[in-house]
Amino acid sequence: MVESIVLSGVAIGCIYALIGVAYNVMFSASRVFSFTAGTLGMVGGVLGSLFILRMGLPIWLGFILALAGGALLGVVTEIVAVRPVLKSLDQHLYVLSTLALALIVQQFTAIEWSTEPQPFPRIFDIPRGGFDQQFWLPMLACAVAVVGLELLYRYTLIGHAFRAIAEDNYAARALGLPERNLRIASFAIAGAIGALAGFAGGQLLLAFFANAPMLTFYGFVPVALGGMGNNRGAVVAGLILGLFQQAANFLVGGIFASVAVFTAFIFVLLAFPDGLAGASTQRRV
């Protein structure tokens, strides 16, 4: 039982963590919580199945195209749902615009793809076993994405530029940084990370249009628990969420598992309003 809780819990937790990271990357660049993050995950799974199973493309090509599709959707999100509402961030119009775009993409997928879950291909042709690829692929994807982002942000010039606009948008612009282009690039990276979550978790979640709201919902929990904009916090919180959810599945089962997860979530936020790893921000009064 413990083995099953750990394997499933960590794998699902990694998918949630990746969606949380996608939220954070978009948030850092724009101060906007884009509720298309779960949709990006769903699109990654659907495109992977479409390219590899339905169109018969090689797995590596299907993988690259799925990530490219996610990146494209990230860019479209920035242009269609984020940029028009950036001037009125305090009115939180982005909630409506990003949710609307997510809904459009979800419904379009339901109509054009299928309303039923579709199979997702086995990525590696190896026999099924206890520590199966459906579990370790999300873990590997999460590790690669988080380490890659850390390296990008710490050791590259463009990474420093991303951090600059995340730190102080106006100052970065005053220094001559191309803020709009960097924001578009951030949304493209977030799109690819979201799609990576869906692709790596495709064997667990299947290629299903209704994964979008589920990932949007559960993917936001690591962000809230881990602290907004904090990728390391999102990963830790995602893993805790996955493990807790799976333990609740075993211990209480049925629909009560979701109740247990969100009860714990509310209690944690009551105790730590800025999240487990979030630092409280100072505000000039």
Binding site: S4, S8, P117, Q118, P119, F208, Q246, G253, G254
Partner: protein, 397 residues
């Protein structure tokens, strides 16, 4: 004989009155208008498309044979797009605008729930195949008849198979969290107890849950001898079947027709995991213990083949129930006439209409026409030309 002014006025008034009470939908040799509300697109369209093939074939056959007393049947169809709102709009248009004589459909329960009361108010006779129990009520909806089974019959057949044929007394009931899933599991649990079974485990699970191993392990430790899932979600059902297979747990899974669908099959990790999975189906459209379809159905299959109707992407029972509906309407109009009360009167006395899908009977107090004994279980892994083998344990009809 001289015609007085008073006589002339009387004659003219009589002529006008006669014209006024002439039947709007069937004057002279005008076609008989049948309203039809299939879901040809959208989430429920796989059923609707299958049913539509049968409906079109029946209407073609009737019209080629001269129609009903010289009147051709004309289907006036509105695609509901699997949307209850569009079904209501279509029903209003067909009854008020086209003044159809009778209506077939909608063909799924979600759309039928708002349409049935609307047609009752419009006094249009209605035939539908939807399963939700409340969709027929001779007192509230005296013009509404069902040529399919009810949910009670579906659950009852599965329960009887598990308890009386497979002799399994300890049952695990599991459903998704949809209205259909929870209502079905909650209704069928007490029915199981009535026939001597014990529900050792019952749970409602989010269909999006990717890991059903905890649920299956709990069923196992509760001592379940059979699993009865109630869901139309192929992802949920396939995960359940896969988990049973991974645990090498040799218990039968019996339940809703989706267990035997192509979507469920596509999500199985191994084809052999589909063994010992028994979904609902209907005896007249199943291969019997001798491997043959009943004679009436076999002849129907020949006609389907000669009409070049594709059977590989649909199910025979969908086509058969669609085929039977225009035949039921034809018989009623031919025997009694196109007026609503005549159609209803005929159907109220209908006994053993020999449909391909089933033998339909109605009475004034019972508008659920499908017989209990024709609701059966089949082997999920036996699909061939849209039909399944009867599950083991059933004798010849």
């Amino acid at each position: 004989m001289a015609l007085t002014r008073r006589q002339a006025l009387k004659s003219a008034a009589a002529a006008v009155a006669a014209a006024g009470i002439a039947k709007p939908a069937i004057a002279q040799k005008n076609p008989i208008l049948i309203g039809y509300l299939p879901a040809l697109t959208g989430p429920s369209s796989s059923t609707g498309v299958g049913i539509n093939r049968g409906v079109q074939m029946a209407v073609d056959e009737i019209n080629k044979a001269g129609g009903v007393d010289g009147h051709q049947l004309e289907l006036i169809s509105r695609d509901t797009q699997s949307d209850p709102t569009k079904a209501v709009n279509g029903a209003a248009e067909l009854t008020k605008g086209h003044k159809v004589s009778v209506m077939f459909g909608p063909v799924n329960s979600g759309e039928a729930i708002p349409v049935v009361p609307l047609l009752a108010r419009a006094s249009v006779p209605q035939l539908h195949p939807c399963w939700v129990d409340q969709l027929t009520d001779p007192k509230k909806y005296p013009l509404c008849f069902r040529n399919g089974p009810t949910n009670q019959q579906i659950g009852g057949a599965a329960n009887r198979y598990v308890v009386e044929v497979l002799k399994k007394k300890k049952v695990a009931l599991i459903s998704d969290t949809t209205g259909y899933g929870t209502a079905s599991a909650n209704a069928y649990g007490p029915m199981l107890k009535q026939i001597g079974a014990e529900v050792v485990y019952q749970a409602h699970v989010d269909a999006a849950n990717p890991d059903l191993k905890p649920e299956v392990l709990r069923m196992q430790s509760a001592g379940a001898e059979a699993i009865m899932p109630w869901s139309v979600n192929a992802g949920f059902l396939s995960r359940l079947i896969n988990t049973r297979g991974q645990l090498a747990w040799d218990v039968p899974i019996c339940g809703q027709t989706t267990l035997g669908s192509g979507q469920t099959k596509a999500l199985l990790e191994k084809p052999e995991y589909w063994n010992k999975v028994y979904p609902n189906n209907f005896r007249p459209v199943c291969y019997g213990p001798d491997g043959k379809l009943p004679q009436r159905t076999s002849a129907f299959m020949d006609r389907l083949r000669s009409a070049k109707i594709d059977m590989n992407d649909t199910l025979l029972w969908w086509i058969a129930l669609g085929y039977d509906a225009p035949m039921l309407i034809r018989d009623a109009i031919k025997a009694a006439g196109p007026e609503p009360e005549k159609i209803v009167g005929y159907w109220n006395a209908l006994k053993d209409f020999p449909g391909v899908y089933g033998d339909i009977s109605f009475t004034p107090d019972e508008h659920n026409g499908y017989p209990d004994k024709q609701v059966v279980m089949v082997e999920a892994n036996s699909l061939k030309e849209g039909a399944f083998n009867l599950a083991p344990g059933y004798g010849a009809a």
